[in-house]
């Protein structure tokens, strides 16, 4: 151990001494530290641990503040479902965490993007409050990466693919999305623009028009969406349509790097999405749609509060198909709807749909654009990202969705995150910081004990140095230098280790949020802390140094 410790101290040795004599105090200290390499390393290690813990907490505290409590998301208002917590809505939209708390009518978005056009009769005029609005629809995934349905305007182009007039949409102050490859998707095509991390980690690339969709899917130029975000043991329900990747975004260092963006309209072209509201109603009532006879669908839908006239035939067809796929002869032909529904209570586990079983619930127009069967007034969105026209616009929108319009709720994500940080993270990190200070104090006591022991063991050596002409002050300085060196080197190693720990934390955060932290930057607080550690270590060394100061030379020379 001594040998390896000695070798490890070589760098130190090199840093503080020239290798030629005369022997200075540093060389003397290093020599003596090398001689007691195990003790030196253990003390260094304890200082390093304390420092690393403190620094990593400081970095996490600082960076989590900038990560969670940032006020700049590129939008100042988030419009989400009326129920559900603002925090869930914000975390879901900004960091793509958790599942969406619900949906809001598409018509709100449609009203917001009318621009200068007068509002529809009976519809509110959002123009004076809303500068830009971006739709946000979630619910599907691809290989555990979230798929977000949105509009091309998010990436600074209009529906025709031309740059938008005025300021493009920002994901951070003065930072608009940029493409690393390809182009932005068309608003009504099965096309996708993917985040840099998705492209990187999943090996996806811009599709090859010469290849078929299936071939592109195989090579990573296209993908099919999976319903929801299935767990590792769940059978994925993969949708039928294939989205061609037409563009790859440059890294934004936000959670959006881990997202696949598709036109929100294309999400309504998925059968399950179209019937989503019906599914939801059936699920709430605990009904198994396959046990409902085809001729009684309308009755059941009506009982559930759904207007059967508004349900497209494609969705109804799905019911019939599902019904056919079960054992038809076993179905009760009850005349009473309630009785029928009682019998149709869903089993614990519904049979998984087979791949490709869904019928198409859309058609393509002559330009090849998607036209969903679901009428536009049935469309829904998970959220709308809004850039308001200043504080007044912001307050009016908040007021509007708080008092007047109960179809949605408006939150200020920056406020939500600030509150979240102050409530949870700030308190927790302060506690951790206190712990880390305690760890440092323990490490300082460790230095004190270690150096005190070494001084006690070295009383004879100190007596020899005194006999060779070393003054008491020299010995005092010698021991204090040793303690300070342990504090400094342990502190620097701890600083590095703390940053490395934060780096690991950043990887985890990146996995969780798609957004890492700046774990490299060293701020003044850390340097101040390092200084404090060195001072504390030196003070810890002062106690044994004073003991050495008083060492009687003659007695200890004889004792040796």
């Amino acid at each position: 151990m001594q040998k390896s410790g000695g070798n490890s101290l070589f760098i130190l040795h090199f840093a503080f001494c020239n290798l030629h004599f005369p022997m200075n105090l540093f060389q003397l200290v290093i020599k003596q530290m090398r001689q007691r390499a195990l003790g030196t390393w253990l003390t260094l290690f304890s200082v390093m641990l304390g420092m690393a813990l403190a620094v990593s907490i400081m970095i996490m505290r600082r960076e989590s503040k900038s990560l969670f409590a940032q006020t700049d998301f590129g939008y100042d208002i988030l419009l989400g479902p009326p129920k559900g917590s603002p925090l869930t809505l914000t975390l879901n939209t900004v960091y793509h965490m958790y599942t969406s708390p619900g949906v809001i009518p598409y018509s709100i978005y449609a009203d917001m993007v009318r621009g200068n056009k007068p509002p529809l009769p009976g519809h509110p005029d959002y123009h004076q409050y809303v500068r830009q609005a971006i739709p946000f629809m979630v619910g599907d995934s691809y290989k555990a990466r979230r798929i977000v349905g949105t509009s091309p305007q998010m990436f600074g182009v209009d529906d025709d693919g031309k740059p938008v007039k005025g300021t493009p949409w920002h994901y951070r102050e003065d930072k608009a999305y940029e493409l690393a490859a390809g182009r932005v998707f068309a608003p009504r095509k099965f096309e996708a623009v993917i985040g840099s991390d998705v492209a990187d980690k999943l090996g996806l690339h811009v599709y090859d028009p010469k290849l078929s969709p299936q071939e592109n899917e195989k090579s990573g130029g296209a993908f099919r969406a999976t319903h929801g975000m299935p767990g590792p043991n769940e059978k994925p329900d993969i949708h039928k349509p294939i989205w061609n990747i037409v563009g790859i975004l440059k890294p934004t260092h936000t959670a959006n790097d881990r997202v696949l963006f598709i036109p929100f309209v294309s999400l309504y072209a998925i059968a399950e999405h179209e019937s989503g509201m019906i599914d939801q109603a059936l699920m709430k009532a605990g009904l198994d749609p396959t046990k409902i006879p085809a001729d009684r669908i309308d009755d059941v839908l009506q009982t559930l509060g759904i207007d059967p006239q508004k349900v497209p035939q494609s969705v109804k067809a799905k019911f019939r198909m599902e019904h056919k796929s079960s054992a038809p002869g076993t179905q009760p032909a009850s005349g009473d709807v309630n009785e029928l529904m009682k019998d149709a209570v869903a089993p614990a586990t519904a049979p998984a749909e087979e791949d490709g079983e869904d019928p198409d619930v859309y058609h393509l127009d002559e330009q090849g654009n998607i036209v969903p069967d679901l009428p536009e007034d049935e469309w829904s969105l998970s959220a709308i990202l809004i850039q308001s026209r200043g504080t007044i616009g912001q307050q009016r929108l908040i007021y509007n969705f708080k008092v007047i319009d109960d179809r949605a709720t408006a939150v200020i994500p920056a406020d939500v995150m600030r509150e979240f940080f102050d409530t949870f993270l700030a308190g927790a990190t302060i506690m951790l910081l206190v712990i880390s200070v305690l760890v440092i104090v323990v490490a300082a006591v460790g230095i004190l004990v270690s150096i005190y022991n070494s001084v006690t063991a070295r009383k004879h050596e100190i007596a020899i140095l005194r006999a060779l002409g070393a003054t008491k002050n020299r010995i005092l300085v010698l021991i204090c230098i040793e303690a300070a060196l342990i504090g400094l080197v342990g502190g620097i190693l701890g600083l590095l280790a703390g940053h490395a720990l934060a780096g690991i934390g950043s990887i985890f955060l990146n996995r969780l949020l798609g957004q890492g932290i700046n774990w490299v930057a060293v701020d003044r607080l850390e340097l101040l802390y390092l200084f404090g550690v060195v001072v504390l270590a030196t003070l810890a060394g002062l106690v044994p140094a004073l003991s050495a100061y008083r060492t009687p030379v003659a007695t200890n020379l004889v004792a040796g």
Binding site: H20, F21, P22, M23, N24, L28, K31, Q32, R34, Q35, H460, E461, I464, L465, R466, A467, L468, G469, A470, T471, K472, N473, R474, V553, A554, L557, V558, G560
Partner: protein, 255 residues
């Protein structure tokens, strides 16, 4: 350089509060370059005397003067006897009589330490080398506290002189006891001191090694023109020196 003790007294206070006189010397001188053996029984105060001379201990009273007596020819000083008496004891401030004398006892502790580092070479009974340091480093360590520029060439020369030119990078644990003591001798001479104090330097060695070490000490002291005060029990050793002083005769406290 000569050394002169006068009215030197040192007492120890025992654990029971009793006062035990250890050193009580009226006068003792050592001429420049003189090599003197100091003999005495165990507990007669030999080591205490050396510690007092080196400034490791301070006397209760008396003076320890280092320096050239003004107007006294070097040769005359060298020929001075043990019983050399001076009617007026020299003091450090007495510049008219002794321009360059220093009373070690009157120096503040830090200055005494530095003076010891520069002017006194000490060879202990056991080598007292620092274990983590090589032979060369141990010798250089002896030069580290003088405030003067260290002289690696001189250190190397000393180690060559003591026959360790092939062992410069050896740490003490790799050297024999005799070799360790030879390194200690080299270290004592590292600063070209004016006085070498050797406290039973051959006590732990076999006769052959003891003889070697003695010869080395004497040779090197001559080379640097240092006075030598060597404590030993061994008549084989002491009889080789120019003068043998019995502490029993010198020290009233040991009578």
């Amino acid at each position: 350089m000569a050394m002169e003790l006068s009215g030197l007294k040192k007492r120890y206070v025992g654990p029971d509060g009793s006062v035990v006189p250890v050193i009580d010397i009226d006068r003792f001188t050592l001429a420049s370059g003189e090599q003197v053996a100091l003999v005495g029984s165990s507990g007669s105060g030999k080591t205490t005397l050396l510690h007092l001379i080196a400034g490791i201990l301070t006397p209760d009273s008396g003076r320890i003067l280092f320096g050239e007596p003004a107007g006294v020819p070097q040769a005359a000083l060298a020929a001075a006897t043990l019983e050399y008496q001076s009617t007026t004891p020299p003091v450090a401030s007495d510049t008219s009589r002794r321009a360059s004398t220093i009373d070690v006892c009157a120096l503040p502790e830090a200055e005494r330490d530095i003076f010891r580092g520069k002017q006194v070479g000490y060879v202990f009974q056991t080598h007292h080398l620092l274990p983590g340091f090589t032979a060369m480093e141990n010798v250089l360590l002896g030069m580290s506290f003088t405030g003067r520029r260290a002289d690696p060439a001189w250190a190397k020369h000393l180690l060559e002189e003591v026959g360790l030119s092939q062992r410069l990078d050896y740490k003490p644990e790799k050297l024999s006891v005799g070799q360790q003591q030879r390194v200690a001798v080299a270290r004592a001479l590292a600063n070209r001191p004016s006085l070498v104090l050797a406290d039973e330097p051959t006590g732990a060695l076999d006769p052959a090694s003891a003889q070697q070490v003695l010869e080395l000490i004497r040779k090197l002291c001559t080379e640097v023109k240092a006075s030598l005060l060597l404590v030993s029990h061994d008549p084989q050793i002491t009889q080789q020196l120019e003068r043998v002083v019995s502490l029993k005769d010198l020290n009233k406290a040991s009578k």
